[in-house]
């Protein structure tokens, strides 16, 4: 797939909330075009705030988030063609799966025939076809997240921002969702930021891991394992997990033997 994907550059991003909460302090890193970067860190360290600023839902107090085109110039396209998946699925309870998945296209004025065709395509690819006429209340929590993930794909985004999409599900479902996230990332080819609190999830999916401590970047870790060779039980994988785990523990100020 040849596309002019943007990379995503966080440059000295700070955010002070009214009341003086210093949620982010001078955060800088960049997500290469088409890469998947995981952001990991203790609860309340500012991960969601970072994502909201990238999505344009919040403003940095200082610093900036830029989408950089292949020509090295700042481009507006990334922001226009961006998809966000939140921790809660955020589906409309009165719409069935197809109508929910087609909603982003509906809001951008795509014709009914075209948006249904596109929605059916991503639904089938996500293995949700048998459930497509069900309402969200008739789905399990894991399925609702899959619908939300399918919905982020329906607009063929250049940039994907995922905020702990697996935090509300059990370990089994998490593994299935991880497969789904990898598929979504590979199908879309999008420049992706994944917020997670699971080290093994980060190591399994990402090519770069940003370890945060309260409000700032503690360490940037490259995952050397090739995507095809990520076996959760292999020694190489477990060694990576251990390295990130140590980094996280240092960030959190916890001593591990």
């Amino acid at each position: 797939m040849i596309r002019d994907l943007p990379s995503l550059a966080f440059q000295g991003v700070s955010r002070i909330f009214p009341g003086g909460v210093h949620a982010l302090k001078d955060v800088s890193f960049s997500i290469p075009a088409g890469g998947l970067t995981a952001v990991i860190g203790p609860s309340g360290c500012g991960k969601t705030t970072l994502l909201r600023i990238a999505a344009g839902l919040d403003r940095a107090t200082s610093g900036s988030v830029n989408f950089i085109g292949p020509d090295g110039k700042t481009s507006a396209r990334g922001r226009e063609n961006l998809s966000v998946c939140f921790q809660d699925a955020r589906l409309l309870p009165w719409r069935n799966v197809v109508a929910n998945v087609a909603l982003p296209l509906e809001l951008s004025g795509v014709s009914r025939v075209e948006r249904l065709a596109r929605a059916n395509q991503v639904i089938t690819a996500a293995g949700l076809a048998p459930a497509q006429t069900r309402l969200p209340s008739q789905l399990s929590g894991g399925m609702r997240m899959r619908v939300a993930l399918a919905r982020t794909l329906v607009t063929s985004p250049d940039v994907l921002l995922l905020d702990e999409p697996c935090s509300a599900v059990d370990e089994f479902t998490r593994m299935q969702l991880d497969e789904e996230i990898r598929r979504v990332w590979q199908v879309s080819g999008a420049t992706t930021m994944l917020i997670t609190h699971s080290v093994s999830e980060a190591v399994w999916l990402a090519d770069q891991i940003i370890v945060m401590n309260v409000g700032s970047v503690h360490e940037i870790h490259r995952v050397a394992l090739p995507q095809q060779a990520r076996d959760r039980t292999s020694t190489a994988f477990l060694l990576e997990v251990e390295t990130v785990m140590r980094s996280l523990a240092r960030a959190a100020g916890v001593v591990i033997a």
Binding site: L57, F86, R90, L92, P93, W94, P104, E106, L107, P136
Partner: protein, 267 residues
């Protein structure tokens, strides 16, 4: 099967209560020898109903028309104005408290004003019904629309939806369960409003509405006829309430907990 048995129980229990009440009433009046002028027996009221059925049914149709039209006006106005107030923070701060205060003014005190403005006739009964039915719809619409899940709003914002699109596709559907609750309260109030309007706007004739039937019967000391007309106005109220509950149930039962059982709704 279980469902059918359950519905029968839900219907039969209140019917039994009504039957028990009527029998107790009949027996109490017969035993105590209270005069029929003060308290007629249910049996006598039934006979009066039968004997005056033309007049009562004609009146009920008039009253039902006034209540239904007044309710419809209140429903449309309440949803439109309520949505506007909910959407504009300035209106929310200015108009909502005003509406709350106006709502405290008793209808019976305002009714003569309606006669001055609108004259004697059906239109005044409609207006009186609309005036009392408006506030619950307005309040429910505003409450429903300011409490739409902020996460969903954000989703619409992220996809560049205009305010109008968001209203049609999010705010309105999301607040329907609460609006339906407001509408159900309004349905009951509309009948009260219509009857009060009829009391003051007194249009008589062969098709006199129930409010007039009640007033006339009172002057003629026909307590049995008053009771018969009261029973019919209760029936009109129940019919309107039931119809609104039915429509509400069809709109929301698939996705909202408030619509899980229809019987819960009409209780």
């Amino acid at each position: 099967m279980m469902g059918a048995i359950k519905s029968i129980r839900v219907v039969v229990a209140p019917l039994l209560a009504v039957a028990f009440m009527l029998i107790a009433w009949q027996v109490a009046v017969m035993m105590s020898g209270v005069s029929a002028y003060l308290l007629p027996t249910p049996w006598a009221i039934g006979q009066t109903m039968w004997a005056n059925s033309d007049r009562l049914i004609g009146g009920a149709i008039q009253t039902a028309m006034a209540a239904t039209l007044g309710f419809a006006v209140a429903a449309v106005m309440g949803i439109l104005v309520g949505s506007m107030i909910a959407a504009v923070p300035f209106l929310r701060r200015s108009l909502y408290p005003l509406a709350t205060i106006l709502q405290m003014v008793p209808l019976i005190a305002v009714a003569p004003l309606l006669v001055i403005w609108l004259g004697f006739g059906l239109q005044t009964a409609i207006a009186a019904a609309a005036v009392v039915a408006l506030f619950p719809v307005l309040a429910a619409t505003i409450d429903g629309q300011v409490s739409v899940d902020p996460g969903l709003r954000e989703f619409f914002m992220l996809h560049g939806a205009s305010g109008w699109t968001r209203w049609r596709k999010l705010d309105l559907p999301a607040s329907i369960p609460i609006i339906v609750t407001g509408l159900r309260i309004a349905a009951g109030l509309a009948v009260i409003g219509a009857i009060v309007g009829e009391f003051v706007s007194g249009y008589g004739g062969p098709n006199a509405p129930l409010g007039i039937v009640i007033m006339t019967a009172m002057r003629e000391a026909r307590t049995d006829l008053v009771f018969a007309a009261v029973a019919l106005s209760a029936a009109v109220g129940f019919a309107l309430f039931g119809a609104v509950s039915c429509i509400g149930w069809f709109l929301v039962h698939r996705w909202h907990a408030s619509g899980v059982t229809f019987m819960e709704q009409i209780k």
